[in-house]
């Protein structure tokens, strides 16, 4: 069943091209994941696919799914209390393959019963791998079936592609945050220089002394240098407060 065939090779090529297309500039990771779950049900002997991704707090969220029925969602939610193959995959970072829920899911009886009631006889979960951790899991539901090595390879390749897409988007977001921080850091530096000028003029001291005064004041109040400097320049802190009498000339 589903042995590699020229047909599947063609499908595979087409699907990978489509996935690569979603990886262009400013892509939406949701589009990529949606493309991915649909590719999986086309290429593997499964009926339904869903993708769990850890959010920033590490909690798994269902990000894409071939079907929107609330009963499918139940399958994921169930695992939060009882555990389940998808969560186990997420935790271990290794695939969890259950060819026959009736025979092999004693660990999660409630999950198995619900899945079977929905007409699924097999559940497979493949990790979205980042080094030794899983940032998410690709979950497959369908008729009783053993996934061949070729099936697993296809499934894992698709999962890896999703990982790349997700990481790329995360790194893009991080870079934008970095850039904003850089721009703010420049302002901090500018305002510190301005405050040095204010203190230097007020106390008739050199820039080095002015900076030392600013730093001492910030330290003694556990404040940030940039914040103190900003207050000085906005005249919220008077230079007298910062300049020790003995330093004034």
């Amino acid at each position: 069943m589903n042995a590699p065939s020229p047909d599947r090779d063609a499908q595979l090529a087409r699907r990978f091209v489509a996935l690569a297309d979603t990886l262009v500039d400013e892509y939406d990771v949701v589009d990529l994941l949606d493309e991915l779950v649909h590719a999986v049900v086309e290429l593997l002997p499964v009926e339904h696919a869903g993708l769990l991704l850890r959010d920033e707090d590490g909690n798994p969220q269902l990000l894409a799914s071939t079907s929107e029925t609330s009963r499918i969602l139940e399958l994921y939610q169930l695992q939060s209390s009882e555990g389940g193959p998808c969560l186990e995959c997420l935790q271990s970072g290794a695939p969890v393959l259950i060819d026959d829920l009736a025979a092999n899911a004693q660990k999660w009886p409630e999950f198995a019963r619900t899945a079977q009631a929905l007409g699924f006889e097999a559940v497979h979960a493949l990790p979205l791998r980042l080094r030794r951790d899983a940032i998410g899991a690709l979950n497959l539901f369908g008729p009783r079936a053993h996934l061949s090595d070729a099936d697993l390879q296809v499934g894992q390749s698709l999962a890896d592609m999703a990982t790349i897409g997700i990481l790329q988007q995360r790194s893009a977001r991080r870079a934008a945050v970095e850039a904003e921080q850089l721009k703010r850091a420049l302002d901090t530096r500018v305002v510190i220089e301005q405050a040095k000028g204010v203190l230097s003029e007020f106390g008739s001291v050199g820039m080095d002394v002015a900076f030392e005064q600013l730093r001492r004041y910030a330290r003694s109040r556990n404040s940030k240098l940039g914040e103190v400097a900003d207050s000085v320049v906005r005249r919220e802190i008077s230079p007298e407060e910062i300049t020790p009498a003995k330093d004034r000339h």
Partner: protein, 236 residues
Amino acid sequence: MERTSLQGSEAWIQGRLTALAFDCARETAVDGGSVTLVSTKGARIVCAATSGLATALEDSQTLLGEGPSVDALDGPGPVLVANLADPLADWPGKWPFFAAQADELDVRAVFAFPIRVQAVSVGTFGLYRQGARGLDDQQLSRARTAAEDIAELLVAPTVTEDPGQPTGVSRTRRVSVAWAAHVHQAAGIVMVQADVSVVEAMDLMRAAAFAEEIELRALAREVIERRRKWVKGAAR
């Protein structure tokens, strides 16, 4: 052992930015290249320049508030002017003061590329040429690549000096404002002398530099050395 700048350190970034500007200026056959970063509040900081010419033209845009780098920062793409004196082009009319300044320095062609990280405008990469010639396709693509490399460099992970850190990587970014630090110090001094806000102090300095046709940096130097003073209530 020779002490080299740590990757990601301030000195390292400054060195890399300067090297990038030099390489690109040479390969695009221009006479000056510069990297100007712009802070959240709009302060322009020239943090790398290949020559006094490039610094002067970036500084004059800070002073005048107009020019190719000013326009490129938030514009849709690079600003390319092959000949500032071309009577058919509207550039001299668009930047009358900047064009006059460029003319004085014999600069005829100016090019400015936005430095963007994702959608964030971080600054501009400026190229200045004394001949009235545009960039050819190859030079244009070289300059675009340089602007992209600069953006990447500015947000690249920083390697810290702390060997105890398992990753050795932090994301604290520090780029020096040393080049123009004294201009901002001078603004603080004038703020106290004239009893005005720091923005007004900067405006006073700009107006004086413009009226006297001297560089803002030179004027700031005089302020710091107290060779020039403002008094409360007077324009200067």
